[in-house]
């Protein structure tokens, strides 16, 4: 009766200690990477060293990388078999997010280009008044 209990007591403090270290390490690595990516984002946005037109794209890539860091190190979304449901739900969410954003931006920019008012159109109101 006492033996399993003692065994249990032996395991309990040791096991959390090990995983405490690795678990804390996961958050520390995540924080470090996120801080690094944030710093790089702010540097990229303010430097004049880089090719101007590419900066916006680079910032989006950095943001997506940082979101990945948050997902892996803070939310513990991994590729392990116990995570399949979480990953599938995430994949579906990402699909919808990209459809909504890219679809809207694509369509609305084209409509905006086609519907941009000419100077005559904007003056029409004044001419009538």
């Amino acid at each position: 009766m006492t033996e399993p209990e003692a065994e249990h007591m032996n395991v309990a403090p040791g096991e959390p200690h090990d995983s405490l270290l690795s678990e804390s390490l996961s958050y520390v690595i995540g924080l470090g990477l996120a801080l690094l990516l944030t710093a790089v984002s702010f540097w990229v946005a303010s430097t004049s060293v880089l090719w101007g037109p590419g900066v916006a794209t680079g910032l989006v890539v950095l943001a997506i990388a940082q979101m990945g860091v948050h997902l892996v190190f803070f939310l513990h979304i991994t590729s392990g078999p116990d995570n399949t449901n979480n990953v599938l739900a995430l994949a579906f969410g990402v699909l919808i997010v990209f459809l909504v954003m890219i679809g809207t931006i694509w369509i609305m920019s084209h409509m905006n280009a086609n519907m941009a008012p000419t100077p005559e159109m904007t003056n029409l109101h004044l001419q009538r008044g």
Partner: protein
């Protein structure tokens, strides 16, 4: 009848594990956070619509102030670091809660809440200055979209702060019971998700908006 059901894969011998639900539903500690994860993802879909609206309207300033004139990168940097570190301390609170360490769980939750409050205070300060300059949500379509997007995130942070306070009280009163741990886990998922959305906001709205 039994044979028929067996051929379409509804019944199995006791030793078989086909992954078709023979073992019954997962425990609540799995199902509840998973359901909350689905909510968080649908929340991100909501934000994607707000981002799309903002991207569409960002140049519709109606002769009013533009992104370059309004946004202050230094304030945003402080906001970003406050929210990022609060995400980190939220993780530390979860580590402490897992090991039933009341003191550290409460301390880290308090730090998380305080950093969230710092973030919210700076955001409201920024909003107040903008509205004072006549750049309120009614000024232009761009500003309407801006206040909707960033304000919606701020509203989420406010709800998160209330939730953190509630969880600190519940943890204190009820201890580390399974359902309290479950709620804490959901809270941490919510809080990390807010930080992920903020990454998109500070990049798309503030950094790209203030490019020279």
């Amino acid at each position: 009848m039994t044979n028929e059901a067996a051929t379409i894969g509804l019944t199995h011998g006791a030793s078989e594990d086909t992954g078709l639900g023979q073992r019954g539903p997962e425990s609540k500690s799995i199902v509840v956070p998973y359901g909350f994860w689905l909510f968080v993802l649908s929340d991100m879909v909501l934000f994607s619509a707000l981002f799309a609206t903002y991207a569409t309207l960002v140049h519709a300033t109606d002769g009013g102030p533009t992104t370059n004139q309004l946004f202050d990168r230094n304030l945003v940097a402080v906001e970003t670091i406050a929210l990022l570190v609060s995400s980190f301390t939220c993780g530390l609170a979860m580590i402490a809660a897992k090991r039933a360490n009341m003191t550290w769980a409460q301390v880290w939750l308090l730090v998380t809440g305080l950093l969230g409050a710092v973030f919210l205070f700076i955001e409201l300060y920024e909003f107040a200055i903008m509205i004072g300059e006549g750049a309120g949500p009614q000024r232009s379509a761009f500003l309407s979209a801006f206040f909707t997007l960033v304000g919606c995130h701020g509203a989420h942070v406010t709800a998160g702060l209330l939730w953190i306070g509630t969880m600190m009280a519940q943890l204190w009163a009820k201890g580390f019971q399974p359902h309290i741990i479950r709620r804490l886990l959901c809270l941490s998922v919510f809080w990390h998700a807010l930080d992920i959305i903020w990454v998109a906001i500070f990049t798309i709205v503030y950094l790209i908006g203030t490019l020279p």
